[in-house]
């Protein structure tokens, strides 16, 4: 575990250098964009470049930024003029709530459907689960989002069509505003989880220990849920950790459709407006979360599979 944690720092440093260099390759001068319709005025452009250090060399800009980050200062957004850390701390809980709920949806749908498809292999249940899974994978998020808004909000009037209310302010409204985007977001992941659970369960069900458990006369329910599922969960956890990362970044479109002011919307707006400090801050935090989730997945393997504990 110690060595895993030691790998984290160089990874994050590399990510920071990559993000910083890659955005220099992006076409579109930040000063021009910030100046808006005043972009033709050289005085305005010079004023912006000077203020934002854009007239210094790239290594100097990077060292200035990373030095501040190490002291806990992520800089100030060029466009919104708020500290980046404050923006991240306001937006991250929104996306974590959305991602968390989406993951719960994905697990609640994907894992049982995968088990059912494996246990009832080649029956009508298997075909239904596969069909639903394929449909989930093939449906674009934004389309499903707009369809749900039209059906659930406009026609039925059950849920607010968009927006967000923080959990602490009114938890009922908070759930009401996030349930549709979370479902949309969780939908595609549920499909992936279902397919992986199914194949992992099929492999586990043909193992010797399952035959032994059956031979001992254990009820089928216990054989499936305790003996086979526990082993089948190892690859599913890996996938879950990877997909949870995807959820954070993949929330972009869903947040756009449902106007949820989360992390995804923050980074998309920042990229389009060339608000580099925000892009850098968001990518660094996302990378940290992603790496953290993978370390967590390593720990979970040990919990579900005793054979890995000595490793």
């Amino acid at each position: 575990l110690k060595s895993r944690l030691l790998q984290v720092l160089p990874t994050l440093l590399l990510v920071s250098i990559l993000v910083f260099s890659l955005q220099q390759l992006m076409p579109g001068d930040p000063a021009t964009i910030l100046a808006g319709e005043e972009r033709g005025d050289p005085v305005v452009l010079q004023q912006i470049r000077n203020e934002l250090w854009l007239d210094r060399s790239i290594p100097v800009q990077y060292l200035h930024w990373i030095g501040n980050v190490l002291r806990g200062d992520f800089g100030t957004s060029w466009r919104i003029r708020q500290p980046v850390l404050q923006l991240i701390l306001t937006k991250l809980p929104v996306t974590l709530q959305l991602g968390g709920m989406a993951f719960v949806f994905a697990m609640l749908i994907g894992v049982p459907a995968g088990i059912l498809a494996a246990v009832k292999r080649d029956t009508v249940w298997d075909h239904i689960a596969n069909g639903v899974g394929l449909a989930g994978l093939s449906t674009p998020n934004f389309w499903l989002g707009i369809m749900l808004i039209l059906l659930v909000s406009v026609n039925l009037g059950w849920l607010p069509p968009s927006g967000y209310v923080p959990l602490g302010e009114d938890w009922r409204m908070s759930l009401a505003t996030t349930i549709m985007p979370a479902f949309v977001l969780g939908n595609a992941i549920a499909a992936i989880l279902m397919r992986h659970t199914r194949s992992a369960m099929l492999t586990a069900m043909s193992e010797d220990y399952v035959r032994t458990a059956r031979a001992k006369g254990l009820p089928e329910r216990r054989v499936v849920l305790v003996h086979a599922l526990r082993n089948a969960l190892v690859p599913v956890i890996t996938l879950g950790a990877l997909e949870l990362g995807t959820l954070l970044s993949g929330a972009v479109l869903t947040e756009q459709v449902f106007s949820v002011p989360g992390f995804g919307k923050l980074v998309v707006d920042a990229v389009f407006n060339r608000d580099y400090p925000v892009v850098q801050g968001v990518v660094l935090v996302t990378a940290t979360l992603y790496v953290g989730l993978n370390v967590l997945a390593d720990l979970l393997y040990r919990a579900v599979n005793p054979r890995l504990r000595g490793a």
Binding site: G28, K91, L266
Partner: protein, 390 residues
């Protein structure tokens, strides 16, 4: 405000003298008739001096200005909330206690929010959605012609990409224009709601010259002009298009129409910020650019046409046009200025540094509970007189 990017707009002011507590005198460096209009726009918005000084460059986070509402809260990318200002001079005409602005980028989602009752008023409705709103008994619409235009800016002298038949020969540009059917274009893409135009100001502007009308499509003329120019057919043109669904669709219509006249138009669809950057660098041949517009016609013209002007990225230069623009700027009488512009348009129509296509409309949709909404061409929502019945 020292950090404001709008400062150049009032750069003509040399000195401000306080005459008495309610009167000031502006002394200008030179006669500049657009100033009054500038003062009605963003550059002229009144800020509270003490609050401005105290907040410095963070003023945008806690703005204190003059108006019927005061700033209450702003959650980035989520909402701006304003509350009724009790000491407003005309408070008897302010009826709603609190107003929340929500930025919703997607027009379909905006409309869904209006229809479900989540929002009371939405602006910039997609033209294709207007029919749906009109057919809904609980909703109403308004429309107003905006101040700007949509045009095609042509690179005449900014770097090597200007060295193409389109950039070098005005006959080729006029052939390109003759191939366009502006009415069909707005009918197809904007349900006929926008207005074809060949001027930098909309028909509703006092500076609009009524005699300069959009010509109809004339394929024979287009072909004759290309023949006269002696160019090899098809004439290759790369059209830079900001990545926006309706502008892209418009560009496809242009591609098809000009194709019939002997042009081979390639569409170079780019993310908006990158396209602006490409324009500034001269990395374009023809560019579909929209201008939001200014109240005074000068703001739609001088910076785009005057030799060396700030937004003249196509590097157009015609001393006769420069002289007319300068004369118009120094003239206060509207009718006189219009007659100066009337002399200028034939020159611009001949040179065609920008091929104007149409002027946009700001379409709004609202619940029938909303009353007293008056759309204004500048697009800013006026809250005075607005009512909301429960």
């Amino acid at each position: 405000m020292k950090t404001s990017f709008r400062r150049p707009e009032i750069g003509s002011i040399e000195k401000v003298e306080v005459v008495d507590p309610l009167t000031i005198k502006l002394l200008l460096k030179e006669p500049f008739s657009p100033l009054l209009a500038q003062l009605t726009d963003r550059a002229g918005m009144m800020l509270a001096p003490k609050a401005t000084e105290a907040a410095g460059d963070k003023f945008g986070l806690h703005p204190v200005c003059a108006g019927p509402y005061k700033f209450a809260e702003r959650i980035q990318q989520d909402r701006i909330v304003v509350e009724k200002f009790a000491d407003y001079w005309n408070k008897a005409n302010v009826f709603i206690d609190k107003i929340t602005y929500l930025p919703i980028v997607d027009s379909t989602v905006r409309l869904a929010n209006l229809r479900s009752g989540g929002l009371d008023l939405i602006e910039r409705v997609a033209p294709s959605d207007m029919a749906a709103i009109k057919s809904d008994g609980k909703l109403a619409t308004t429309r107003i012609t905006e101040l700007g235009y949509q045009g095609i800016t042509i690179n005449l002298g900014n770097g090597p990409r200007a060295q193409k038949p389109l950039g070098q020969d005005s006959r080729v540009r006029r052939a390109f224009e003759a191939a366009l059917d502006r009415q069909a274009m707005v009918d197809v893409v904007y349900a006929g709601l926008f207005t074809p135009s060949v001027q930098a100001v909309p028909q509703t502007s006092p500076f609009y010259v009524p005699d300069v009308k959009p010509p109809g499509r004339d394929l024979a003329k287009a072909k004759a002009l290309l023949k006269e120019a002696g160019v090899t057919l098809p004439v290759q043109v790369t059209l830079t298009v900001p990545n926006n669904p309706d502008i892209r669709q418009m560009a496809e219509v242009i591609q098809a129409m000009t194709g019939e006249a002997g042009f081979d138009v390639k569409l170079n669809v780019m993310e908006f910020a990158s396209s602006l950057d490409a324009e500034t660098r001269g990395d374009f041949e023809a560019y579909m650019l929209q201008w939001s517009g200014r109240v005074d016609a000068d703001g739609n013209m001088t910076q785009f046409f005057r030799t060396g002007a700030s937004n003249n990225h196509q590097k157009y230069s015609n001393p006769a046009v420069d002289a007319l623009l300068d004369r118009a700027r120094a003239t206060s009488e509207v009718a006189e200025r219009r007659s100066i512009y009337a002399q200028m348009w034939p020159l611009l129509r001949q040179d065609l540094p920008i091929i104007y296509l149409y002027s946009q409309k700001n379409l709004a949709g609202m619940s029938i509970r909303v009353g007293g909404f008056r759309p204004v061409p500048d697009g800013m929502i006026r809250l005075q007189g607005l009512t909301l019945t429960p």
